[in-house]
Amino acid sequence: MSAGAAVLLAAGVAHVASLAVEVPYWGQSLLRVLGGAVAVLLPAGTIVYVFLFKMMSFMQSRLGPMDAGPYGSLQLVAEVGKWLQKEDIVPERADARIFKIAPVVVLVSTFLLVAVVPFGPDAWFTDFEGGVFYALAVSSISVLGILIAGWSSANKYSLLGGLRAAGQLIAYELPMVLAVVGVVIQAGTMNLQDIVVAQNAGSIFGFAGLGNPYVLTQFVGFVVFMIAVQAELTQAPFDMPIAESELVSGYMTEYSGFRFLIFFIGEFATAGVFAMIASVLFLGGWGVPFAWFGWTGLDDVSGWMNLAGPVIVLTKMMLVTFLIMWVRFSYPRFREDQLQKFAWKVLIPVSLANIAVTSVLKVAV
């Protein structure tokens, strides 16, 4: 993880004039691309090994992979090798060009998403005011990829899976946005970096030892957000687009070899990135409570937080991902209509009420 942190740091500090390192524009871009790749792929690999291979196995009273590397830690490398060797099959009646683009579209949305996640006071890829807005917008691009994957495969199961995914992801986009609005109101900004600072510089009734992580004040929002994330990631109990016992593999049915691998990476990378965003919005992101070190704002924060920050974010990400995976491995699947009912009749009213209460308190207190 520290290797990843170092690259992230490099990507971040590239902007910092105080370091007096003059990096040309192409160099900065290259560093950002490398940092982005690490920030997406490293969590994805860790999540697959720790949760999919090991935690799931322990929950199911088995050991999981044990042969490739110590405790099967190189299993993922072996799996990737296997997938890369497989034939790249495009069904005869498929719309070949669209079929080939689809997995890339899904993965691209993940990469775009990580761009606004702050990893430290200076360690970020891009820092702009509409961060929350941007994150919620680009996360919907994956729907497009899934929809065209389902349509172009020329397979009835894929089509059903793709359409289910479209309906589901659109329905759950809304509660997710509404859940985040509570945080935005409370922080008074849409910039993710400022949201982190607001949480860590804040205090609860004058007690600053914990900062003010919004998971406490926005608990309803956090729960709604996590449920919506679960649905966005099409993980159980919302995995009808894949639903292997009904639709074989849904929109991924016809994919093989490295295209399937891209879908697979996309699934877990998106889980990781969404967990990062959840940790930024609700758990204080890269920061520690500023009161510990007597900092008051972003300008006071010591430079070493650029190194510690990525590690803290990744730790919190693992905690959030643990929740996601725990639910995934335990629950049966909803039916499509029950899922829609749940979104429109429960989640959206609850998050609207949350917004109303938050606004009233924001003005009153």
């Binding site: 995995d239 335990s330 629950y331 049966p332 699947r333 039916r335 029950q338």
Partner: protein, 390 residues
């Protein structure tokens, strides 16, 4: 459709309404979906042809026979002791239970009866294969509904039962242990104590599954009210076993038939459920596993001493005649109609297997349901492909 409860009538009307409502509001083109013969929900090679409107099933028809192995015909060219090897493979998860009705039919024709000890051991092994069979169903239920964990618990605990069957008979899946006039061997030493500890584990497994699945709200919302079979529809379609009991029919051949088996020596309960939906079918099966462990426990305590084999000639020739014996197998009523002409092998064997009749209700049941419910209904009807196609 007389004598229906309100609930049953409503579900029937809903299915009818779904049938006529389709394509009225919006002129859409239907899609024919072939579910199977290779599909994760069909436990093998069942094929279901479903015409869909969106995700709603307009019409569905199971198509079976992809795994037909011709056991009825094969049995005609085998000797009596060889037939048990064949019929083991009909319902491959509860294989010992397949041998018993055939052996009982042959014994009936020959006029021999197994000694009491053999009857007890037969019954115990019969119930153990029921546990092995139905406990896997309970786990598989989770997978069909999207919960991946319970099936591993089921495989873990079924292993204990299979080990027991292996220790007693030498075969885990296909024991081939039942003989005309008794059993091949007596029980090995220590088997009785081992079995007692296993039944305890299985009861704990039942509690675990009840916690994990039956208490889960998503599970309940996926199964309650889905695939309701009213009582007289179930009777008309010739359902048997847990599917029939879940529709409120108190019918169990272990209790109702007077067979030379040891069920009558144990205290146990036949569970029924008034609802007739998928949840009821699953719930009745869960209770069945519990009752089976109770039966095994009681029979282990009361097992009499003595030989396990009656006096039968070395070369078995069954006298001329016809006999029908059916038992309550894990999947439902399984029976053999054996016609003998006094040869070494049967002249004709008709096998009545439960799953074949149980899936005959599928077209009736699948009208108007959604695609995910197809999986729920098929899982809760619980068939085994070998039992359908024989």
């Amino acid at each position: 459709m007389t004598l229906l409860g309100d609930r049953e009538r409503l579900s029937y009307i809903a299915a009818q309404a779904a049938d006529s409502r389709l394509n009225v509001e919006l002129e859409t083109e239907g899609m024919t979906l072939n579910i199977g013969p290779q599909h994760p929900a069909t436990h093998g090679t069942l094929r279901i042809i479903a015409r869909l409107d969106g995700e709603q099933v307009v019409w569905a028809e199971p198509s079976c026979g992809y795994m037909h192995r011709g056991y009825e015909k094969l049995a005609e060219v085998r000797t009596y002791p060889q037939v048990t090897t064949l019929v083991n493979r009909i319902d491959w998860l509860g294989s010992f239970a397949n041998e018993v009705p055939f052996i009982l039919a042959a014994e009936k024709l020959m006029g021999v009866e197994a000694p009491p000890r053999a009857q007890y051991i037969r019954t115990i092994l019969f119930e153990l294969s029921r546990i092995a069979n139905v406990s896997l169903f309970l786990g598989d239920l989770g997978v069909q509904l999207g919960a991946i964990t319970p099936v591993f618990l089921a495989f873990r605990d079924r292993e204990y039962v299979l080990n027991l069957i292996e220790a007693a008979t030498g075969g885990r899946f296909h024991p081939n242990f039942d003989r005309i006039g008794g059993l091949k061997d007596d029980l090995p030493a220590g088997w009785v104590d081992e079995t007692r500890s296993v039944t305890k584990k299985l009861r704990r497994f039942c509690d675990e599954i009840e916690d994990l699945l039956f208490g889960n709200e998503i599970f309940q919302s996926r199964t309650r009210g889905i695939g309701v079979i009213p009582r007289d529809v179930a009777l008309q379609y010739g359902l048997s076993g847990a599917n029939l009991r879940a529709s409120g029919v108190d019918w169990d051949l272990r209790r109702d038939h007077d067979l030379p088996m040891a069920w009558k020596h144990a205290q146990w309960k036949v569970w029924t459920h008034p609802d007739g939906d998928s949840f009821a079918r699953c719930w009745v099966r869960l209770q069945e596993v519990r009752e089976a462990t109770r039966i095994v426990d009681q029979l282990l305590d009361a097992i009499p001493a003595g030989p396990v084999m009656a006096k039968v000639p070395k070369i078995i020739k069954v006298p001329e005649g016809e006999a029908w014996v059916s038992t309550e197998n894990p999947l439902g009523e399984m029976g053999y109609y054996v016609v003998s002409r006094g040869d070494l092998g049967p002249f004709r064997v008709k096998i009545r297997s439960a799953s074949f009749n149980n899936i005959s209700i599928v077209p009736w049941l699948l009208r108007g349901v959604y695609v995910p419910d197809i999986v729920t209904i098929l899982a809760s009807l619980y068939f085994i492909l070998g039992d359908i196609d024989r």
